[in-house]
Each structure stands twice: as structure tokens, then as C-alpha cells.
Symmetry: C2
Subunit: 133 residues, 2 copies
DNA sequence: TATATAATTAGCCAAACAACTAATTATATA
DNA sequence: TATATAATTAGTTGTTTGGCTAATTATATA
């Protein structure tokens, strides 16, 4: 039961569900992109990602200094999880917001993204703000 | 997202998963039977059941003093949840243990069960103990 | 080889959660 | 109508969890 419970606990958190949702939209995302999406510290994002990997829901690969995360296709029962989860995720405002934000994040190089996260205010992300305020 | 998250949180607890599992085996169980299965206080069982009902996974009906719980067939996506969960639950020792315990519980009248739970040691449950100790 | 950097781990704190006992509610019956 | 009883709600307590900052690890590069 513990593996099943581990998967359920891993998904039973808003931010981790958002990570999972993001990875149904983009094949692969690196830690700094997830950090940017969730608007939490890198440490927090890293811990959430570790929980999802430990549960067997995500896999990661390291390429030089970057670590990329993706859905673990080999996860036993992943198809059934997606059957249940996908139509639900598509239904929710926050996830749609995430998808839009992600598009913005992907339009920026990881280098600039990380520079930004360090507070070096060079190369600002072009925010798609409405100017009706 | 909150309804989806609510369902995931509801299932992401060992005792609640056991309740859910029990109800895949027995169409309908009353609160005192669940209490007996989990070996927790009636208040604790009641709270777990309330969480599952609130999440839309279980429904309940009251019949005189007894409250009966069952899987909520009308729960949106219940089939998909079961597709994922059933083969996993069947795999685990604790759930199989639960099924055996449940058989014992169902062999006793609810009246006797509750008497027992109140400490009135009349009409003992026939435990299927092996006598090799 | 010293420095910069992406990610993780360690250590801390506040909020959420699961358990308990006691009190309350709703129903049946003497 | 007073009493018993099944279930729930209220209130308390210890544990788990999710967030942070600081320290560490692994990799690239000046």
C-alpha cells in the first residue's frame, strides 16, 4: 500500500499538482523553470520535485548544471492516473494561468531566468500584462 | 482544482484508503463497522468518513440510529479512480488483512459490535485466531 | 585551480492534520 | 417522557508538512 499511498500523497498538494500539470503540457522542464512557475524559493521547488520523483511519478536527468524533469512514462499506472487527472486539470483556472505563465517562461533563456531569480535585474521577462489598470 | 485536490487529499491517508478499499469489497458498511476495522475511536472514524463524503467519494444514508456508507457511484471520475486504485489495493497485505477482518465483523450483529465497543464484554466476536502460539 | 552557478540538503518555524476524550445531537424504546 | 445509544462535533495535543534562509554539492569556466 505504501507505494500507492506515496503517489497519492505526492499528488495531494496544490504546488505539486501544478508541477505535474505543467509537465503534461511541456515534455520537460528544468528546476529553475518550475521555481519560476510556482513563485517559491528554489529550495522549496526542489523539495516538491524530489517528492514527486521519489513517488515514481517524475523522472529527472542531469545535463551539465541543469536538471530536467518529466513525467515518468514507465510509472506503473501512469496512464490511469492521467485518464483521471488530465480532464480535471484542464478544467481549472489556475492551471490555465500556469500554462500561460509557462509560455512566457519558455520564451526566456534559462540563463536569463536564473539571473533574474538571483536578483540581477538584467534581461527582464516580458510580462504579458494587460494595461487596463 | 480544489475539488480534484480535495479528492486526492481525502485518499492520501492510510486509514481513509483502507475505508475506501473496504467499500470496494462490501457494498455498504456502517460507521461502527468502520470503527472496528480501523481500531480507532468512533470520533476518529467519523471524521475520516466525513472527509471522504465531503470529497464526494462516499455517500451516506441514515437508517434509524445507524449510518451506512458506500462508494458514491455518481462521483465524477469514480470509474477512473477505481481503474487505477483497485488493482493496487488488491496487491497489498494490509488490505487483504482488512478483508479478512471485515468478514469477521460482518459475521457479528451491529448491536453486538457496538456493545463490544462500549466495553460491555458480552457476545464476544469469534476471532479466527490460529492456535499455534 | 579559484570562482561562479544550478540544484540539493540542513535546520528552523508556523500551519495543517490525525488522534484522543468529553460534550452534543438524533433516534429508539422502556 | 425519561433513558439508552449511534454518530457527530468541540476542544486538546503531538506529529507531519510546506515554507523560508543558510550551507553544501556538483559542474562549468575564467
Amino acid at each position: 500500500m505504501d507505494k500507492t499511498l506515496l503517489k497519492l500523497k505526492a499528488l495531494a498538494d496544490r504546488n505539486r499538482l501544478r508541477i505535474f500539470g505543467a509537465l503534461t503540457q511541456y515534455e520537460e522542464l528544468c528546476a529553475c523553470q518550475i521555481t519560476e512557475l510556482l513563485q517559491v524559493s528554489g529550495a522549496t521547488a526542489s523539495r516538491h520535485l524530489a517528492i514527486l520523483v521519489t513517488a515514481g511519478l517524475l523522472k529527472s536527468r542531469k545535463e551539465s548544471r541543469w536538471v530536467y524533469f518529466s513525467l515518468d512514462e514507465s510509472c506503473d499506472g501512469m496512464d490511469n492516473i492521467l485518464d483521471w487527472l488530465l480532464p480535471r486539470l484542464r478544467q481549472f483556472d489556475q492551471i490555465h494561468g500556469d500554462f500561460e505563465v509557462l509560455d512566457g517562461i519558455m520564451a526566456v533563456s534559462k540563463e536569463d531566468l536564473c539571473r533574474q531569480q538571483r536578483g540581477e535585474a538584467c534581461c527582464p521577462v516580458q510580462k504579458t500584462e494587460t494595461t487596463d489598470g
